[in-house]
């Protein structure tokens, strides 16, 4: 814990990441209350169709005259929910697989690792595409699909960490005391694995947010919600690029970039803090 605090105190990236993610989380919570319009409300006037930014519509309107700013604000919540829940599914599945494989070893480990390898070899976006197109384009299915394709990293990381902790002397001491495997996993392995799991979760969150954008862009987003990916998708379908309606797709993309960057900054800072080589090793050249 001390090293994590220290890392965030000294790293500008860590601070920036926390700030960005913090702001977006607040936006996700209060968003619907501060959005100037109902994002679904279409315009009555023809001038309000695909209108560039103005005082009334700071980020302009879409092809139905809906307010883009409100869509982006509403999209914050959806995007973060998808990102965080998918990441939570992924790390829980991954941690269970990784710790089990690492601790028990042998045949069980070999089997679980082959399963992990096969998921790692399947391009996760295609896998997610298949799952969502087979299951249907709902928020839950999207979360499930992303979560089920992103667990492999967590599994590999936790397995490696479990293998190394299992060999640590304090585990041997616990065994000498007569502690059983579940006691050792709960009291000795998990507490030492969790910081890494947490670091991985921040990374997977950013990957999940990107994945959601990809799925939405390919037409597999939940059509009943505004996520940032879906806004860009609509912009693409409308031909916003060729007519130069930059205000349509620029804001959502910037939001994706900022949030993803924020989470990866946090993840990098955690990684550096938790990497014993980088923490203790000295560089002389």
């Amino acid at each position: 814990m001390a090293e994590i605090k220290e890392a965030f105190r000294t790293s500008p990236f860590g601070k920036a990441g926390l700030a960005i993610v913090g702001i977006f989380i607040i936006l996700a919570i209060v968003g619907p209350y501060i959005a100037p319009y109902d994002p679904w409300k279409t315009a009555d006037e023809i001038e309000d169709i695909l209108a560039p930014p103005s005082w009334a519509h700071p980020l302009g309107t879409d092809e139905l005259g809906r307010d883009i700013l409100s869509q982006v604000i509403h999209g914050t919540r959806i995007t973060l929910i998808i990102g965080l829940s998918a990441a939570a599914i992924a790390v829980v599945v991954g941690t269970v697989v990784g710790v089990t494989a690492g601790y028990f070893g042998g045949v069980l480990d070999a089997m679980l690792m082959r399963i992990t390898d096969s998921f790692l070899s399947m391009p996760f976006i295609v896998l997610a595409i298949v799952i969502v197109s087979l299951l249907g384009r709902s928020l839950g299915n999207i979360i499930l699909a992303i979560g089920l394709v992103q667990w492999t990293q967590a599994a590999r990381i936790t397995r490696a960490q479990t293998l190394s902790i299992k060999e640590r002397v304090f585990v041997l001491r616990a065994r000498a005391l007569g502690a059983g495997p579940f006691y050792i996993m709960r009291r000795h392995i998990l507490p030492n694995v969790l910081p890494l799991v947490f670091a991985n979760m921040t990374l997977v969150t950013s990957l999940a947010i990107l994945s959601e954008a990809f799925l939405s862009f390919l037409g597999l987003g939940d059509p009943t919600k505004f996520s940032w990916g879906i806004i860009i998708r609509y912009a693409f379908e409308t031909g916003a690029v060729s007519i130069g309606a930059w205000w349509y797709f620029l804001p959502a993309g910037i939001c994706i970039m900022l949030v993803v960057l924020g989470f990866s900054f946090i993840s990098n800072t955690l990684d550096e803090a938790l990497n014993p080589k980088l923490r203790r090793g000295q560089v002389v050249i």
Partner: protein, 318 residues
């Protein structure tokens, strides 16, 4: 040798598992089991019956699975609803187009990423590292298609942005053909390089940063070697060893990038095909692409492991 045999066995198990996952995805999840792969508008009764027989659709699942594996290894991935030709044919045709775009773009992003990664790790914690991290991670955080859209908006008039070549134009020489191709390729390739180099940057930076903490770098410095030589002769080659396998391991992450970039730039490759298949619910094509790409990645990983084994004396002489 022993190690490679083990890796070969592991890769085979992985292949079987991939086929199993695919099989169950397409036959167990959908409400109408098994048949979504052979049904579709415009497919004749005879074709359907042929495939029902071939894949044993009235038999128990386990038999079906066996037939599925057999047919897959024969190269029979079914028939596309949309194009009405065997999926494999379609894939092979489109794969070429994808590779034309993807190979140079990937090679460039690996070179750029590794180079910047070396710089950043060497100057870790100093302003250059800071700037490079913002640059590389910043691009990494952008959805590919979005950057593509921006580039089209900004440079769409200078460079061609639809397809691989200008349709309807007769090219007098090979040279003018390549010039046209290059004009079409520039923006999608640039997008891919800008975005994809980030992951290689991060891999190299962290690998090299760890490697730099190894005491042998101190020995090298004590021996009177200058920093450039220490990096060139000792640290970078050592960091590159695990990176060969890490690059192969990360191949799967390229797919999202090229699928959407082909969609944005109407590049007639695998990615465009995926997009069409989603729109048309062309499940045989989706299944084929999933199998095809997964097996390619397994193969690439295996090859990278062989390379690693050959390159690293710690494994070679064990």
């Amino acid at each position: 040798m022993r190690y490679l045999l083990r890796r070969l066995a592991e890769s085979l198990v992985t292949v079987v598992l991939i086929l199993t996952v695919t099989f169950f995805l397409f036959r167990v999840i959908p409400g109408d089991p098994a048949r979504i792969l052979i049904r579709g508008p415009g497919i004749t009764r005879e074709v359907i019956e042929h495939y029902e027989r071939l894949f044993g659709l009235d038999k128990p699942l386990i038999v079906q699975f066996g037939l599925f594996v057999r047919e897959t290894f024969r190269g029979n991935l079914g028939i596309s609803f949309a194009y009405k030709i065997p999926v494999l044919e379609l894939l092979v045709e489109r794969m070429g187009n994808t590779l034309i775009l993807l190979v140079p773009a990937t090679a460039l992003s690996i070179l750029l990423g590794l180079f910047l990664g070396v710089l950043a790790a060497w100057k870790r914690g100093r302003p250059l590292d800071f700037a490079l991290q913002v640059f590389s991670l910043g691009f990494w955080s952008i959805p590919t298609f979005w950057l593509g859209m921006i580039l089209i908006m900004l440079f769409g008039r200078t460079f061609s942005t639809g397809g691989m070549i200008t349709p309807g134009v007769e090219h007098g020489s090979l040279w003018s053909y390549f010039a046209d191709l290059g004009k079409h390729m520039f923006l999608p390739a640039l997008t891919l390089v800008l975005i994809m180099h980030g992951q290689y940057f991060m891999i190299m930076r962290s690998q090299l940063a760890e490697e730099l903490t190894e005491p042998y770098t101190r020995t090298a410095k004590a021996k009177g070697l200058r920093a450039g030589r220490i990096l060139r002769a000792h640290v970078v080659p050592n960091a590159m060893l695990p990176i060969t396998t890490l690059i192969a391991l990360n191949l799967a992450t390229l797919v999202a990038g090229f699928i959407t970039i082909e969609t944005v730039f109407s590049w007639p490759g695998i990615g465009k095909l995926v997009y069409r298949a989603i729109l048309m619910r062309d499940y045989p094509v989706l299944q084929g692409i999933l199998i095809f790409l997964s097996l390619s990645i397994v193969l690439a990983n295996f090859l990278a492991d062989i390379l690693y084994t050959v390159l690293d004396p710690r494994i070679r002489y064990r």
